[in-house]
């Protein structure tokens, strides 16, 4: 283990951190699936309002997606604009 450079250690841990940051994708996945299920139920109850239900559902899903995208932004920053490597 003695032949790991400091830079290599930081890069490896950043890659692991980027992978861990993408666990944030679980939440939006569950939320979007739930919203889509409720949307399908709403269309089943009231097929005439399909257009309104679709646009409301897509808007809500896009808002719910934000937390996942924060995780994605953290992962991309760790991989391509790593702030930790400058602290060595």
């Amino acid at each position: 283990m003695s032949n790991i450079t400091n830079e290599g250690l930081v890069l490896a841990c950043s890659a692991v951190g980027a992978g861990l940051a993408m666990i944030a994708g679980i939440g939006p996945g569950v939320g979007q699936g739930y919203a889509a299920g409720q949307g399908a139920a709403a269309v089943g109850r009231n097929p005439g309002a399909k257009g309104n239900i679709m646009s409301t559902m897509l808007l809500g899903q896009a808002v719910a997606e934000t937390t996942g995208l924060y995780g994605f932004a953290v992962a991309i920053i760790l991989l391509y604009a790593n702030p930790l490597i400058k602290k060595l």
């Binding site: 646009s55 897509l58 808007l59 896009a62 808002v63 997606e65 934000t66 995208l69 994605f72 991309i76």
Partner: protein
């Protein structure tokens, strides 16, 4: 030691970053003409050519006859934007915002679709999405002060204990809007870049097309729609005067 694996050499070709093309000197600091500028300029030229063609067609249109092919397309776009803004903001205020919302929607859709032309989408650059979100931010507060006057400020402190949350919520609006658009388009760009870098060249002819349908067309149109809808929702929240 793993040099002769095809995969490891192909990975080196993965490229989806913003590329700077020509270095300009802007009052002593280096400014690059990046791929985002080029994409935005191409989109601007497309919109401009379309607008001029539409203008000429509308001027030459004969009101007595049924509209032809291109005029039908223009009418469809105009009526679709009109309906969208009326649905989102109410008929009373729709007329004064249709111009901006329609322009924003057309530019965002074309920017998001520009990945199909092999360009790097301009909306995968945080600079451009943050600029668009800041325009929305100032429009929100302009409408707020116009319709609610001083109560716009006092409403922030209504439950006094919640005032920090209200203020942070106001500041977070442009950040979350810009990050949402940026993140969605960037994730599509990254995925497409990885796939183009990983597969051998003869597969790039057919197979990524399926993914382009999802990442560029579906996701791009949805995100443009969502950005425009959120802009309309946030602005029209200020219309009701209490």
């Amino acid at each position: 030691m793993l040099d002769n694996i095809v995969l490891s050499s192909a990975v080196m070709d993965v490229d989806f970053g913003i590329k700077g093309y020509s270095k300009l000197d802007f009052f002593g600091s280096d400014v690059y003409l990046t791929s985002s500028h080029i994409c935005l300029l191409i989109v601007a030229v497309i919109v401009l050519v379309f607008a001029i063609a539409a203008n000429i067609t509308i001027r030459r249109a004969d009101p007595g006859k049924a509209p032809g092919g291109f005029l039908n397309v223009i009418e469809f776009i105009v009526s679709a934007v009109d309906n969208m803004v009326e649905g989102g903001m109410g008929i009373a205020h729709a007329a004064s915002y249709t111009n901006y919302i329609g322009t924003l929607f057309i530019v965002l859709v074309l920017c998001n679709l520009s990945g199909l032309l092999g360009l790097r989408p301009a909306t995968a650059d945080y600079g451009s999405t943050f600029a668009l979100a800041m325009i929305t931010f100032f429009m929100i507060h302009y409408a707020g002060f116009k319709y609610q006057k001083v109560s716009r400020v006092t409403n922030l402190f209504k439950p006094l204990i919640l005032s920090p949350i209200n203020i942070i919520g106001e500041i977070a609006t442009p950040i979350s809007m810009s990050l949402r658009l940026f993140g969605n388009i960037l994730s599509g760009t990254v995925m497409m870049g990885l796939i183009y870098g990983l597969i051998p060249w003869f597969l790039t002819i057919a197979w990524p097309g399926v993914l382009h349908i999802y990442f560029d067309i579906f996701s791009g149109c949805i995100q443009a729609y969502v950005f425009v809808m959120l802009t309309m929702t946030f602005i029209s929240q200020n219309f009701e005067t209490e």
